[in-house]
């Protein structure tokens, strides 16, 4: 390993304390905000604050800001693959009833599986 790779960047103690304080303040804010009803933004605000906190931890406590940028790239690519997974899955789970209107209806209402009065719970993977 070359010297340049291994140059230790010493972060002043003050920075650690400031980041720690910021994390505590943000926790207080999270709790405080939970008492205010923001409607659809409840989740957005909570996750926004949590993301910001995680970012602080990663950048300062885990040294990502000062380390070789390769580590940053590895870290971000992990997030990217997670994003790909969630977004492409949501194209399925959020859009199950799209395009064809017939989807939500039985193709043959007289079929055996619709004979019981209860709605099909599909516990056996459609193998009834």
């Amino acid at each position: 390993m070359s010297k340049k790779d291994h140059q230790e960047h010493v972060i002043p103690l003050m920075v650690y304390l400031a980041v720690g304080a910021a994390l505590l303040v943000l926790t207080v804010i999270t709790v405080a905000v939970s008492y205010v009803n923001l409607g659809p933004f409840n989740l957005v605000v909570a996750i926004g604050i949590a993301t910001f906190k995680a970012m602080l931890v990663a950048l300062f406590f885990m040294h990502l800001l000062y380390d070789n940028k390769l580590f940053m790239a590895v870290f971000l690519s992990g997030l990217m693959f997670l994003g790909v997974f969630i977004i492409l899955t949501m194209f399925d789970t959020m859009k199950r009833d799209m395009i064809y209107d017939e989807v939500a209806k039985p193709i043959n209402p007289k079929a055996v599986i619709y004979q019981e009065s209860a709605p099909p719970t599909d516990q056996t993977g459609g193998q009834q």
Partner: protein, 542 residues
């Protein structure tokens, strides 16, 4: 006359303990080789039992329940215990550091740990066979995998543990390739085998944790009923398939990329011709690694996934065909005007080119949404999968095994018998799986115990093919093992390769090289450098 050096990694140090606690990548690679060949045998015996049962309709040798367990174990063992570790952990471990001119991998202890974790995971899998083997298929689909009384938990625990062994190997190779290349070996002067393993390692490190999460969720669902996949508790059974295939589609590239890497290497060495389109082949490996993460939904076209997702995934799936096609064209172009030698490794390489092309192109059929609606869950899928995984990866693995065998042991197998065996493997393979394509297109469903009489002829052919394959592999085992003891010394460079592993002795020194090798030329500079293979020198002097 070629001689075998007295002190080599096989003979020094001596004793069982020196093997069990070895940190030498070559010994660990060899231990992996024995382990995976053992499970190849076990999975192969299951396959032969399946084929025997399907020889005629109705019950032949096993009950329907046993049959379900047989195909589950065949799949799970072949995937998790054989193909995934096959090329990277055995040949990769043996050859990668030699190719880079390194003394070992970056983390030798992690390397040994990965082998022990593999054995530990394998023990769980073996235990599950005794304790009422799972009958879910190797895909463990919910909700059935939650309901069945068979040993799902121990088998998935085994696969979970095996994942760590795979991650360790991938991580080790990534760091090794970044840090331990010989002086002069820049990224675009690396052999293509290294590029292929690099792309594979990325997938191993990024995708395998998702398999771990999936199997853990499945176990939790079975044990505690947490309701992630159970619709009665607000879960979503199709979500399991998203989780599972987010790993398992990239995993088929964990399997095929190292195979492609071997072919890129062999096609140049055995035709003594500079590889055509080096950079494109290297980049296409990375492209495959990346795109492989975007296409998993093509396994779920008829699983109740939304039509929109089906369309998106079908569209994206076609992209994977592009880099694979680029590779095939480059390999064929390399052969043009080359001095092709019809050695055993080269015969397997040709077999790969044919079989993988069939496997890849039928994959395009299945990736097309409308065609898949008809072909899904038929033998067409089974045949496609075996053409890519067996006709592709396993054939490439045997190509590589025959290519590096003289380096690993210092001795040559009987080439004439090996060539005949290669032809038998090729015939047996096609005899097994071409009938399955035809049956599948005619609607024979996969995984069925019984079938209509009209399919019997095809099933019989397929069974004959499978037994021919089994016979050919038996011959291979015999002549390979025989060569370890009785083979002719092969010389340091039997094929006339230019990469670094051929510059050390066969078998290599415990420390690989006596001095740090310097990399002064490209890996395939046959246009600039003339080499005569040691095997041909023998012939000239004889």
């Amino acid at each position: 006359m070629n001689i075998i050096p007295e002190k080599n990694y096989l003979t020094y140090p001596k004793g069982l303990k020196s093997w069990l606690f070895t940190l030498d990548h070559k010994r660990i690679g060899l231990m992996y080789l024995f382990a995976i060949m053992f499970f190849f045998l076990v999975g192969g015996i299951f396959a032969l039992m399946i084929r025997l049962e399907l020889f005629s309709p109705g019950k032949d040798i096993v009950s329907a329940d046993t049959y379900n367990q047989l195909f589950t174990l065949h799949g799970a063992i072949m995937i998790f215990l054989f193909i995934i570790p096959s090329i990277p952990a055995s040949l990769g471990n043996l050859i990668l550091p030699l190719m880079l001119g390194a003394k070992d991998v970056a983390f030798p202890r992690l390397n040994l740990a990965s082998w022990y974790i593999y054995v530990f995971g394998a023990m769980f899998a073996v235990y599950s066979m005794i304790a009422g083997a799972a009958d879910t298929g190797w895909t463990f689909y919910t909700p059935y995998s939650i309901e069945t009384n068979t040993a799902v938990i121990s088998l998935t625990t085994g696969a979970f543990i095996l994942g760590f062994s795979s991650i360790f190997t991938g991580l080790n190779f990534l760091v090794t390739i970044h840090k331990l290349r010989a002086p002069g070996m820049t990224w675009f002067k690396m052999p293509l085998f290294v590029w292929g393993l690099y792309a594979t390692s990325i997938i191993q490190v990024v995708a395998t944790p998702v398999l771990g999460i999936t199997l853990l969720l499945l176990i939790l669902e079975r044990v505690a009923g947490i309701g992630i996949f159970n619709p009665a508790l607000g879960g979503d059974p199709v979500l399991f398939q998203h989780f599972f295939w987010f790993y398992s589609h990239p995993a088929v590239y964990i399997m095929i990329l190292p195979g492609m890497a071997i072919i890129s290497e062999l096609i140049s060495v055995h035709s003594h011709k500079k590889i055509f389109g080096y950079k494109v082949i290297a980049y296409s490996s990375l492209a495959i690694a990346f795109i492989s993460f975007l296409v998993w939904g093509h396994h779920m076209f008829v699983s109740g996934q939304s039509e929109l997702a089906g369309m998106i995934f079908s569209f994206l799936t076609f992209f994977v065909g592009v880099p694979s096609g680029i590779k095939v064209f480059n390999w064929v172009a390399t052969l043009y005007k080359g001095a092709v030698r019809f050695t055993t490794p080269m015969l397997y390489t040709f077999a790969f080119l044919i079989l993988f092309s069939i496997g890849g192109l039928t994959g395009i059929f299945l990736g097309a949404l409308s065609v898949d609606v008809h072909l899904h869950d038929t033998y067409f899928v089974v045949a496609h999968f075996h053409y890519t995984m067996m006709g592709g990866t396993v054939i490439a693995f045997f190509a590589g095994l025959h290519h590096w065998w003289p380096k690993i042991w210092g001795r040559m197998y009987n080439e004439r018998i090996a060539k005949i065996t290669a032809v038998l493997v090729f015939i047996g393979f096609n005899l097994t799986f071409i009938p399955q394509f035809i049956m599948g297109a005619h609607g024979m469903p996969r995984r069925y115990y019984d079938y209509l009489p009209q399919f019997q002829g095809m099933h019989e052919l397929s069974t004959y093919g499978a037994y021919l394959l089994g016979f050919a592999f038996t011959i291979m085992a015999v002549y390979l093992i025989h060569s370890i003891f009785k083979g002719k010394p092969a010389g340091n460079n039997p094929w006339g390769g230019l990469t670094l592993e051929w510059q050390t002795t066969s078998p290599p020194d415990p420390h690989n090289f006596h001095e740090v090798p310097v990399w002064t030329h490209g890996p395939y500079d046959y246009d600039k450098i003339k080499v005569t293979p040691d095997l041909e020198k023998e012939l000239e002097t004889a």
